[in-house]
Amino acid sequence: MAKRRSTADFVLERDDYKCIRCLACVRVCSYGANFYDERENMVFTENRKCVGCHFCEAICPTEAIVVQHNPLAIRWNAHWTSEVVTDIMKQAETGGVLLTSMGNDKPYFTYFDRMVLNASQVTNPSIDPLREPMEIRTFIGKKPLSLELEESEGSVALKTQIAPQLKLEVPIMFSAMSYGSISLNASKSLAKAAQTVGTYFNTGEGGLHKDLKEFGENMIVQCASGRFGVNVDYLNAGAAVEIKIGQGAKPGIGGHLPGEKVTEPISETRMIPVGTDAISPAPHHDIYSIEDLRQLIYAIKEATRYKKPVGVKIAAVHNVAPIASGIVRAGADFVVIDGIRGGTGATPKVTRDNVGIPIELAIAVVDKRLRDEGIRHLASIIVAGGIRKSSDVIKAIALGADAVYIGTAALVALGCHLCQKCYMGKCNWGIATQDPKLVRRLNPEIGARRAANLLRAWALEIKEILGGMGINAIESLRGNRDVLRGVGLQEHELEILGIKPAGEAW
């Protein structure tokens, strides 16, 4: 039997005693997995339709539902895993490229988890961040190597003109997620949270929805290969412009928003007709080389009258350091490096799971390379790709980043349960969907509150750790690899990371 029914990835168990037949689970499942049998007066689930998003579980008022992995989906095999077998089946059926969403879920080493932080004991005091000043404000943009000052009796004047900067009250921004890949309510949530906290969100390459214009001061607009919605007004609408070359989840490839997702409002922001594919070419067709990148950077600077920082986002790949160096030398005011764990709305699985390098290593080599070349001050380094918690932020900054972008973590704050089915457009949590029935499930007021809470919580934790180290300004953490020690890392990895093994003193 060549053709077979696929095996359920999840099993939904419903406690019939607790089930009160309120049918909330039936009403809310966008995949139609739950149904009610009137004759039996019972609620059932078609397990194969369940994607494991846990929405019904979350909404069930009596905790009658538990979603579990199907333990025996495929006979256990360390090599021929259930995932591998299922994928082969799907491809045998369709002959197509496997799509997936969100970030790489493979058990590659997470270096963040192999690095530990330092704290003060005796020789210098820890600082109590709740009562003493603890500064984490960060500026993103090109800095001069030195400042020319004019000093006279008791007064100092600045002669050097500082390039435009982004001012971050927390060194965390929301990474590029287009309206289209996520819902407008999701975008609004992040925009409002960024405004509340004093940081930035990124439009992604989907253009600018009119409802987001009011958040311009906290917005980075992205210019990607598809140039959707890009015009001079768009470039000037935000506080900075980001040229997207690559993305951690899909280095080296383009993407496209299928025509059926190009609805009326999406068409308005992308400035393309309803129902046509929105194709983002793999390269920018005006950038075939580094000097072309410089050309685009300066075209944008000209169009925005040098009033906004212009940055470049790349995926972390093997030669990320020299590439970053080239980008800085091409005139970028900030470089964004997106690691192999970076998320996406849709990507070929083969790319997501296999291409790129972990962000931790990329930060270390890029920061080192820029310092070695004496150009570290010319651009800020923003890192992204699987930043999960405040300690990841701290470690990233200690390795040399100026700030981080979070995407997946922000979406999780909005409700995402990482079911990795964004590309289906049926997100029950109202995040990765344009279905008006589903979009409304994300109340942007709640979303903004939760996303802002996350940043607030991380900021507090960062301050806590800084205080523990006896540092009261984030400047003193940046590139301070002395505060990191490796645990269980090989010597060469330690060398790349520029840190000592745990146990070694200064």
């Binding site: 020789t123 600082i127 030195s146 004047a157 006896g470 940046r478 000592k500």
Partner: protein, 375 residues
Amino acid sequence: MYFNFTESPVPDRDFRVPSGCGVVGIMHQRRRLFSGETIIKSIALMRERGNGLGGGFAAYGIYPELKEYYAFHMLYDGTLEKKEAEDFLRERFEIVEDEAIPTRRVKEVKERHLLWRYFLLPKEEALIPFESEEDLVVDTVMHINAHIKGAFVMSSGKNMGIFKGVGYPEDIGNFYRLDEYKGYIWLAHNRFPTNSVGWWGGAHPFGLLDWAVVHNGEISSYGTNRRFLESFGYRCTLYTDTEVVAYLVDLFVRRFGYSPRTTAKIFSAPLWQEIERMPSEEKQVYTALRTVYGGALLNGPFAIIVANSEMMMGLNDRVKLRPLVAASMGDFLYIASEESAIRTVCPQPERVWSPKAGEPVIGELVREPEVQKIY
């Protein structure tokens, strides 16, 4: 550059030794020379602040006859190292005079090193790759300290010298016969390293050119500061957090020409909330200073006294985690960790004050007929 710690010749040089300490600085702002006895007395009062694993002094104005030459105080493990260093020095300098640094036998000080001093004149041809004479000297110091094993430059300025070693400072002072020297600025340091092994080179003051720094506390931002300095060509080889202070002072005051006060405001930058309250022009300056020189922000607890031939400055961290007291009496300016250390040598100063967190105490030489300046 990331250092390779396996190559270091002296085991205890491998580590940046966090330490608690006592500091004193005394300056006569009209260049009147006074004996080292004063500062020894002062630092000795704060014996409790040290543990006998490091003490040292910097003295300005001690070599008036040879003030045209760079005075190098060197520390050698042995004669082989001495020869190697001297060969290198000769490539770049004419050695005008050299001799062993006079010491006397003191039972508390267990001498481990060969101590030598040189008076050097840069060779014309050696200057070619450098922007200035000073850069040549800095490069020479960096080179010896980084690459000549068993040789260490304690000080390299004109008409000044640093005397330091493992022991309590009064013993070290006695050992170096400092009672026989006269200077117009004296710095002293009493060290309490948490590492059990003290190393002569790791004692304070730390010097470069005519800069000398004594430091109480710990620079928690050391890693960041070091990397900041690396982008300006400084190589931190000693792994004592104090050295970054010396290099940073050299960078901002000598190379950039900033005033000591502005430099202090980079080290102990105002809080953002203070900057927000400043008038717009000032705000712009301080925002720029923090934004551009964030890597030079000295974080963690510290009280430092830094001096050169022209001035002496005391500074502590932004939230005042280490003690610092200043006093003045006539042309004398005193800065110390404890008021008693001042009172013991100047019982009735005209003014005694504790500087605010991050506010420098700056004493500059008075050029007649100008009035002395104390900020």
